[in-house]
């Protein structure tokens, strides 16, 4: 016997959530009944080094961002530093005005096309 129940997306989300809660209740009951109760307390594992070699337990959000930007998106980072944020106000003004010029051109083209061809 098999049932294929066609429902709307909201009902599907509701049903799946209820099923998840039911399964969670069962898994919690089974896990906590079966699991070993033995616990050993140690210091933080640092490959033999003392705990004071690390100042932060978790990496900062800034570190993650720069890790991603500087290592993976290296070209994007270089473009940002060398062309936009060079420290020269003149470079910045050139970059922003060139983008503004593109936006103005696109808006003029859109306006002309819309005026000519819109029904």
């Amino acid at each position: 016997m098999r049932i294929a129940k066609i429902v709307d997306p909201f009902t599907a989300i509701y049903l799946i959530t209820v099923f998840t809660i039911a399964i969670l209740a069962v898994t919690i009951a089974v896990y906590y009944t079966l699991k070993s109760k033995r616990v050993r307390i140690t210091s933080v594992y640092l490959g033999g080094e003392p705990e004071n070699v690390v100042s932060m337990i978790t990496p900062s959000v800034g570190a993650l961002y720069w890790g991603f930007m500087k290592r993976f998106a290296k070209h994007l980072y270089e473009a940002l530093v060398e062309k936009i944020h060079t420290g020269s106000l003149h470079d910045w003004q050139k970059f922003i005005s060139s983008w503004l010029a593109i936006l103005i051109i696109i808006s003029i083209i859109s306006f002309v096309l819309f005026t000519l061809f819109a029904r």
Binding site: I3, A4, K5, P9, A12, I23, L24, Y31, K35, I41
Partner: protein, 326 residues
């Protein structure tokens, strides 16, 4: 009343909790045995016939006999509950598959599946790892999140394109159960076949990265950052983490079997040929994943991201563009 019994069977026995636990252990056995053969080792051999019960025994030993090792920063219960939520979420998602005895079908159910079987488990894994903090854990988690920024969109695109192609003209729109019936007809159309090949490539790369197998075993990077995101896990918690990982892999492969290879097609679910077809397709995908795992070394994180971008995200974007052109 019958419907409630069928729901309970579907979520707890087949294809729910019990079935997925057994399938996860068998998948782990196949990966370990095949990997061992590639490396000229015996692999699991002693527990059960041909060592098939070794993953069950390992799980049981970790769960029942081993101790949880914790430090003053550990939040063991938070880690346990996070992993159990992740496992429950994966198990609940299988009622959206045509395999389920009680199959929920709706418009856009692929999005619900993706959320339950991929997004929630990922975040639960991250929360669980950060609940058992340590420097290697943090490093592993940051690598895991970096990989996920590309592997998750790739996985999503590689699955949603076949569903869109298969349901745009007939059936329930963007539904897994409607889509798998039309998958073979997409393969038979030359233009559709090109798109499906691109999706298949992207899917394999994404699954490899999602399951953290070589060359994308960067978050656990053994010998480099100890065990990465799972360094602080031990005893029952490690048993849960292993089960969670294998279950994630098993469900990722099942959805691939349905949406990229048509599940039991050209036979029906209820026929022995259909069941055999699903098993064969599942094993093909598993062997491909294990083969890549064994012939490749580990990338560095930026190399890994570049490879996912090149061989995963770009094919999936090309497939998306072709889909809208045709």
């Amino acid at each position: 009343m019958n419907e409630i019994i069928l729901i309970l069977i579907s979520i707890l026995i087949f294809p729910g909790l019990l079935f997925l636990v057994v399938l996860s252990f068998l998948t782990q056995y196949a990966v370990r045995k095949l990997s061992a053969r590639y490396q000229r080792r015996m692999g699991p051999s002693y527990v059960g016939p041909l060592g098939i019960l070794q993953p069950f025994y390992d799980f049981w030993k970790l769960l029942r006999s081993k101790e949880i090792v914790k430090n003053k920063y550990s939040l063991v219960s938070a880690a346990e509950i996070s992993l159990l939520i992740g496992i429950s979420s994966i198990v609940a998602s299988v009622v959206l598959l045509p395999l389920s005895l009680y199959n929920i079908v709706s418009d856009f159910d692929i999005l619900i599946f993706f959320y339950m079987a991929s997004v929630v488990p990922l975040f639960m894994m991250v929360i669980a790892s950060l609940s058992m903090p340590g420097p290697y854990t943090s490093m592993g988690v940051s690598r895991l999140l970096s990989l996920a920024t590309l592997s998750e969109p790739t996985y999503f695109a590689s699955l949603i394109i076949p569903v869109y192609l298969a349901t745009r003209q007939s059936g329930v729109f963007m539904s897994i159960s409607s889509a798998y019936r039309n998958v073979l007809s997409i393969w038979l159309d030359p233009r559709g076949a090109v798109i499906m090949v691109l999706c298949l490539i992207a899917y394999i790369v994404a699954v490899q990265a999602k399951s953290m197998y070589q060359p994308f075993n960067i978050p656990e990077a053994e010998q480099e950052i100890i065990a990465g995101y799972e360094t602080e896990f031990s005893g029952p918690l490690l048993a849960l983490m292993n089960l969670f990982h294998d279950m994630d892999l098993a469900v990722s492969l099942i959805i691939g079997v349905y949406l990229l290879f048509g599940g039991p097609l050209p036979y029906s679910h209820t026929s022995p040929q259909g069941i055999l077809m699903i098993i064969i397709k599942y094993l093909i995908l598993l062997v491909v994943v294990t083969l890549i795992k064994n012939i490749m070394g580990r990338y560095r994180i930026e190399q890994g991201l570049a490879q996912i971008l090149k061989y995963g995200l770009v094919p999936s974007i090309m497939a998306s563009i072709l889909t809208f052109l045709f």
